[in-house]
């Protein structure tokens, strides 16, 4: 029950902060622009595409690229995943580091809550915000579902992959916020870790290596399969592992802080 109380409080704090609204407005406007461009491209090439047997459809050219540009390669304007690499650290930076500088952290300890519940409560609040954000982004390609043939399975797999990416980035952000003395440091470190995880295998792939530890470490490898519509237990396990490790580290740091005072 106390996790819900923490989540509720954290969600309220998130929604009254201008930062969350500004980020939502800017990113959704940018995603709207991306949607318009992708849709324009799809409509322009529709005759050519219709002639190709088994050629890419609306889902491949509009739905999935809205979520990430990993498959299409054209980065700008950004997809949900690329935007998340930047905005999730900004959203998560104050979760614990902000409490520390506010002097409100001891209040949580004095409420008799274990560190794990504080971390989970805050994490769930962030996830609720991110789920809402993702839902609004996915709603753009879905808005035309009545007039196009949508590959629901592929879009669902891609959305799941994107959601897991957001969950992993949020967990990393919370962990960074737990360790950093200032919110800005937390954001910088979370951004660096996120970018490193996303691009750790680029050099390996350029060198022709398609397997190995470096590729396994890379977020993009696990996300790419899901964007193609392939959901595997190994990929889901990778995301779950990252989330669990990051939240465990945040919990341990918070518990140690209570001990140390």
């Amino acid at each position: 029950m106390s996790v819900i109380a923490v989540t509720r409080l954290e969600l309220r704090r998130l929604f009254v902060r201008p930062l969350a609204w500004v980020l939502a407005a800017l990113t959704l406007a940018q995603l709207g622009w991306r949607f318009t461009l992708l849709l324009g491209g799809f409509l322009a090439g529709q005759i050519k595409l219709a002639a190709l047997p088994g050629g890419p459809g609306y889902t491949d050219l509009v739905g999935v690229p809205m979520l990430s540009s990993i498959l299409t390669g054209s980065m700008l304007p950004f997809g949900v995943v690329e935007l998340a690499l930047v905005i999730v650290p900004l959203l998560t930076m104050s979760t614990i580091a902000g409490e520390r500088s506010n002097g409100t952290l001891p209040l949580w300890f004095a409420a008799g809550l274990p560190a794990s519940r504080i971390v989970l409560g805050k994490y769930f609040a962030l996830m609720l915000w991110l789920v809402l954000w993702l839902a609004l982004a996915v709603a753009m390609p879905l808005s035309l579902s009545h007039g196009v043939t949508l590959d629901w399975g592929k879009l669902a797999a891609a959305s799941l992959g994107t959601l897991l990416t957001l969950a992993a980035l949020a967990a990393i952000g919370v962990a960074c916020s737990a360790y950093a003395s200032h919110a800005s440091i937390a954001a910088s470190v979370a951004l660096t870790i996120g970018l490193a995880l996303a691009g750790v295998n680029i050099a390996a792939q350029l060198a022709g290596a398609t397997s190995g530890v470096v590729n396994w470490l890379a977020l993009s490898g696990h996300l790419e399969a899901m964007l193609r519509g392939l959901v595997s237990t190994a990929d889901i396990a990778w995301f779950v592992l990252v989330i669990v490790v990051a939240l465990a580290l945040a919990t341990q740091r918070l518990a140690a802080e209570k001990e140390r005072g």
């Binding site: 923490v6 704090r13 009254v16 209040l107």
Partner: protein
């Protein structure tokens, strides 16, 4: 006649901070309805002691019992039984006064009608109605203290822990605070408040404990407002330490 119930028992608690003992072997008992003033010079260990009693800080050794139950084994007791107002009322600047009160109520386990009723009662008692929608970030120091006190009292705690509550309050606000403390004590709440103001102790407390260099040096009843005797005891204790010697030399 029944013996008074011990709400709080500290049993040889010790806590180190920055490599030195901030509190050392402190043993203390507080009964229901009692108001204990914790006196000490700056750095005597008052805030550390109160943070441990409030559950915000764990002692290195020793036991803390709340109503006879081990507080360290059951930290959730803090949620139910302790109200804490730290030295600077910690508030979330982006939340309103009403939101703070509700959030604290929920964190302390209040729900539904009980939460609404407690909210209404505390807002009325501490005259926070006019400030209800104001953000905590724009409150004056006195208003912040009042809100902090409301949050601490929201769940009707059995033990109220106040760390330098009269700091930055004007005389009218101090008088109102004393009234609240007396009301709480009359209702059976044990109150422990730290201060370095002797007048605060004689006016609001019925017992005084003097901490010096993390150790309990004096524990006795406040003698009918005998300010002079208490002052003498306090200075004797303070002067005995190194800090006291240095002060005397400086003077």
């Amino acid at each position: 006649m029944t013996a008074p119930t011990a709400v709080l028992e500290l049993d040889h608690i010790t806590r180190h901070r920055a490599g030195r003992p901030a509190v050392s072997g402190l043993t203390l008992r507080l009964d229901s309805g009692q108001v204990l003033g914790l006196l000490g010079v700056n750095g005597a260990g008052k805030s550390t002691t109160l943070a441990m009693i409030a559950g915000a800080l764990a002692p290195d050794s020793g036991n803390i019992r709340l109503n006879g139950e081990d507080f360290l084994e059951r930290p959730e007791l803090a949620r139910q039984s302790v109200g804490w107002l730290p030295e600077r009322a910690p508030l979330w600047p982006e939340l309103s006064v009403a939101e703070h009160i509700d959030a604290h109520g929920r964190l302390r386990g209040l729900r539904g009608a009980a939460l609404t009723q407690a909210h209404k009662a505390i807002v009325e008692r501490l005259e926070l109605g006019a400030l209800s929608r104001r953000l905590a970030g724009v409150l004056s120091q006195g208003q912040r203290q009042r809100l902090g006190l409301a949050c601490a009292l929201m769940h009707k705690p059995q033990l109220l822990v106040l760390d330098e509550p009269a700091n930055a309050l004007d005389p009218v606000q101090v008088a109102a605070l004393r009234e609240v403390i007396r009301e709480q004590a009359a209702a059976g709440t044990a109150v422990i408040l730290s201060t370095h103001l002797l007048a605060e102790v004689t006016a609001a407390c019925d017992r005084v404990a003097i901490l010096h260099e993390g150790q309990l040096r004096y524990d006795g009843l406040v003698d009918g407002g005998d300010h002079k005797a208490l002052e003498q005891t306090f200075f004797d204790i303070a002067m005995r330490g190194n800090e006291g010697k240095n002060r005397m030399q400086a003077a």
